[in-house]
Point group: C2
Chain length 315, copies 2
């Protein structure tokens, strides 16, 4: 019983995932609770503290108590990495902005190392240690879920910017005349290449009599895979917008890989194939030769695994 473990915590707007994880990304004990986001930041923070407490109590079942190496947390929102404070969070976690996660957790669990970062950043760490980015020093992660999240590793380091807001790649525009986004910009990637983006495009076409059937993103993707032309017309727009963003990211970062994850990416190889062909057309040849577009490999537990992995990543 001498394995080293870390507590991983993945804080999202709908659920909080806790786990005991070793430095090979293996889960020993886990628990998922529904985020009481409506009740405000104090309640959510308390959920986090109590969940960590339960993980700590579970440690002796798996290893010696002193083998708990620390607590790694990934949270939705923009995180100031140095202070572990939420610099900005959207309305999926009301009041979360300003929460001093690192400080509060450290106060409750003295003697344990606490590291806090953005949820997509920790997924990038998981991909680097255990997944599609092993051995890579320069890569971009795009997480295509309800929205679009991003993380960028350049020269082996996550880019963070001034206060930890960097790599908000869902709010890079691909159409300066496009529809207005909640962020203020027009034509943001998130309006096309996310679950809600796909629904928006399908609804728009349905209203114009150009789309039939369910407009939820799973149905649209299934229709596209089944060769339905009205679903294909929607996905053509999704793929054009996404490949334009991917090309822009390649021209911006000259990365070794662009890693595609999130719910939408469950469309799998057909989506990746279409994305590769269209991005190839839109990218300068020297840049294109140097890069691969690959699926995320760690899977749906990448959030909690990456959160814990920070403890070894920053050792």
């Amino acid at each position: 019983m001498s394995v080293e473990l870390a507590v991983g915590v993945d804080i999202g707007g709908t659920k909080i995932h806790f786990a005991l994880v070793d430095d090979e990304g293996k889960l020993y004990h886990q628990e998922i609770v529904r985020t009481e986001s409506r009740k405000g930041a104090v309640v959510v923070l308390n959920q986090v503290l109590e969940g960590i407490e339960r993980m700590c109590l579970a440690v002796p079942a798996y290893t010696d108590r002193e083998k708990l190496r620390g607590i790694g947390i990934g949270s939705a929102g923009q995180i100031d990495f140095a202070t572990g404070r939420v610099a900005f969070a959207v309305d999926t976690l009301p009041g979360w902005t300003g929460t001093r996660i690192k400080e509060e957790v450290s106060a409750r669990f003295p003697g344990l190392r606490v590291i806090v970062d953005n949820d997509v950043n920790v997924q990038a760490i998981a991909e680097r240690r255990y997944g599609a980015a092993q051995g890579l020093n320069s890569f971009v992660c795009l997480s295509l879920g309800t929205g679009v999240g991003g993380a960028v590793v350049e020269n082996g380091q996550l880019i963070r910017g001034t206060f930890g807001g960097a790599a908000e790649l869902g709010h890079v525009s691909v159409d300066f005349n496009g529809p207005r986004c909640s962020c203020g910009n027009r034509g943001c990637l998130e309006l096309y290449a996310s679950g809600t983006g796909i629904v928006r495009l399908a609804d728009e076409r349905a209203a114009a009599g150009l789309y039939e059937g369910q407009t939820d993103s799973r149905s649209v993707i299934k229709g596209w895979l089944d060769g339905e032309s009205s679903a294909a017309a929607v996905m053509d727009v999704v793929i054009a917008a996404l490949s334009t963003a991917t090309s822009g990211l390649i021209h911006t970062f000259n990365p070794q890989a662009v890693i595609i994850g999130g719910g939408v990416s469950e469309a799998g190889e057909p989506l990746l194939t279409a994305l590769r062909s269209e991005t190839a057309l839109r990218t300068a040849p020297a840049m294109w030769k140097a890069v691969q577009i690959v699926p995320a490999a760690v899977g749906i537990q990448a959030g909690v695994i990456g959160a814990a992995a920070q403890i070894w990543h920053y050792a």
Copy 2:
């Protein structure tokens, strides 16, 4: 006569600028030659070597010979910083791709330190040491000239990517349905916010009977500043496209500043004011509060000054 000097060389498609520069960015001796780009890479490289030779011969007029600290070079194209080799250059310098600048210069001037980087990267170094980015660790430079060049400093370091191709910001798209660019992509920033982009937009409108007068970029900008409505209609598109890109860069890098340079930026404060108002509308408030959009401050000699400044920057 004890000032320390470096040779700075700025290699562009139309001219090569040589200078002796001190570590405060002051020029002591300089020479500009027309680039014999049509004659191919060997001839151009020879021009570079001979120009450096003349700078070395001029040193004793300004300082003791042993006070020459090195040779800093900025070149058009994508430069592999570690090897000082041209990874990729466009047709303004035919055959330049593959040229081993650092190796050749080092062989000819043994005992002198030689550093080679991309021309916009060295301008970013000049802005950081002597210009608009003093004290900043996170900023983006956009150079709006014939094309659009970029450089990004994140956490105090220039981003480079896999082979030095990073920050090709002119080829980030702002319209996924836009016109095809030479790079393969559609709607690249360079098609709108460069000298040639402005001409293209004005020509397009002139052909449709919507624009009168000269369509060169200087005339369009002057017409806009003079309140001519047909020129203003062109510049509205330029500003919308540019602010969309600026917003995207702010969401990507969460920088402290976006620094605007290049010939187009000579439109001055009215352009910056318009760019600021439009970018403010298109940027998430937390990101916008953290950033300033400012003009480049080093001026037209930033290329040669930044080239030389590498010698102290990487000391």
